[in-house]
Symmetry: C2
Subunit: 335 residues, 2 copies
């Protein structure tokens, strides 16, 4: 079983690549049988938002749409070919409209909200939506309890979507906290999948606001420290900057280097291999070693460089293949 931690749009791309590599129709993948069902994706819910009275889980939706091949290629979020008629009318009706929900996308949120109101957990609602979308991988929210990423900014305390979408992450952040995390429990299957994984992959997601909320749920970080499986992280930093979004600024705010070395620092207590972009080689090489050697005598992360920019499906597959190779190597090294 391959377990992926993800949040945001970059992470989804790697998950798409992994699905392709683990599907039986793929002769290059080297798998003799369909392993997609052995792909477990643990998803951030810290940026979930109640919007127009509906429960929106943007990161879960990105993963579901990505795996169902419904994700908008242009936008990187929402449904390919979606329209925004309801949104336009909501604007006319004086309702908030800065968070863009398409007409097809809306159905996902209406259905999820209906399932939750009917007493289902977020896990159950996610499984139901995944099945309806024909997604075969197992998609797990990090928790069925509410965890809300809140950012202390120059414009006051903002929810993640207020910061990220409404303010286009153009306000200075002085602190991040994960409201509710301290009493949240990991969703069913999360700890078990970490314990039983053959490999654990951290997608190229923002370590602060995409992966941070997951690691803040009590029990998850400990399970990662204990697991015998190799832990591989793909750095979202390329050429000293985030591919998209505010990862670099937020990492600096945390006191970490805003390079791939900072990613190692975020995951330092459980990371085995960092997969970083070639462009990071000069900036990271020595510093990474310094960080990991100083702090962890028992576990020192190695770095493997490749192209991590995923523009095409081929890029996604190539990176997925590289990461799966790194898992095998690392597994061998550990055993």
């Amino acid at each position: 079983m391959i377990v992926v931690f993800t949040g945001g749009t970059g992470g989804t791309k790697l998950v798409q690549g992994l699905q392709q590599m683990m599907a039986p129709e793929d002769s290059e993948s080297g798998f003799a049988r369909d392993r997609v069902k052995e792909l477990t994706v643990i998803v951030n819910i810290g940026d979930d938002v109640e919007w127009w009275g509906l429960h929106v889980s943007p990161d879960i939706d990105s993963v579901l749409y990505g795996l169902a091949d419904l994700l908008s290629k242009d936008r990187g979020w929402g449904v390919e070919g979606d329209s925004f008629r309801c949104l336009e009318r909501m604007k006319q009706l004086g309702q908030p409209a800065w968070f863009s929900l398409g007409d097809l996308d809306l159905a996902t949120h209406l259905a999820r909200t209906a399932l939750l109101h009917a007493g289902k957990t977020l896990s159950e609602a996610t499984a139901e939506l995944a099945a309806r979308f024909g997604v075969r991988a197992r998609v797990l929210p990090m928790s069925n309890d509410r965890v809300a990423t809140m950012l202390d900014t120059a414009k006051g305390m903002l929810s993640f979507q207020e910061y990220f979408v409404r303010e286009r992450h153009q306000v200075k952040v002085s602190a991040v906290r994960f409201e509710g995390a301290e009493v949240a429990r990991p969703a069913p299957g999360v700890i078990e999948s970490i314990e039983q994984a053959d490999a654990i992959i951290f997608a190229p997601s923002n370590p602060v606001t995409s992966i941070g909320p997951i690691l803040a749920v009590p029990g998850i970080r400990n399970a990662l420290r204990r697991t015998p499986a190799p832990v591989i992280a793909v750095s979202p930093i390329v050429g000293g900057a985030a591919v998209s979004g505010p990862a670099a600024e937020l990492m600096q705010m945390m006191g970490w280097p805003s390079t791939s070395a900072g990613v190692v620092q975020a995951y330092e207590d459980f990371l085995d291999v960092l997969v970083a972009d070639e462009s990071e080689r000069s900036a990271v090489g020595s510093r990474l070693a310094a960080v990991s050697h100083t702090k962890h005598n028992s576990r020192s992360a190695r770095v493997a460089y490749t192209n991590t920019i995923m523009r095409s499906m081929n890029d996604k597959r190539d990176l997925a293949a590289f990461v799966l190779d790194a898992c095998a190597i690392s597994e061998g090294a550990k055993a």
Copy 2:
């Protein structure tokens, strides 16, 4: 002030005609000034439904869309030129889909639900939507309390929408009740408008399930009996059958004749003038007199015949003009 009681699609057509006749741009109307603001529309909420977790008020929406010139001309309900993409996706997601909500229509229900969740009453939410849609007439729900039309049928107890839309009113009804009506209070302005009206018009709506719920709210029927204003009803029955919907069957079930005479019987304790279709002249003439004379010595309804089928805006205006004339005549007769 002209007060109209309505529910359903036929009623909306007359309300549209009245708006046109009372607008100042209308030189034929005989009104020297804009009287649209003096048009008060009291609307049935017995067929309101919670759908996908949203509060849908089909009759209020028909009136709002009708007065805002947004109503679908083909369908007679919903928004002209609407699409049904969200609905199609909801079907795929295994959610109920027999009640058709368009993508633009959806915004109305999302906005209303948000306003109600924010603590507004249905009156306030309706006024807000009306203002946003540019509706100048005053649109009042009959009550801010929940009243649900329930039908005892061959398929068990059904809500109005289950009966009307899902079962296409093809099941036999043995009884109708208005759940919650006995403890419901008229919405603010309803009783006052009946008391202060210059004329009260019952639109050509189903007397059992469109007007029945309104009359079941304690205080409304009494106010109609007491008002000095003339009360004019337009019969929804043409040539012995309802123009649309199950009015005739439901009137029979109530023990009333399924002709325009039955409409008089439904309103017998407050009606002054019935406006009926020419096609009803032979069937109704004498029986109507019999009904009203036997039961009401103090108040006997007169009948005025005209064309009541409204296909074009001209038809709507002509009928509205005829009804406004009937009001003036009746007012003169009473005074």
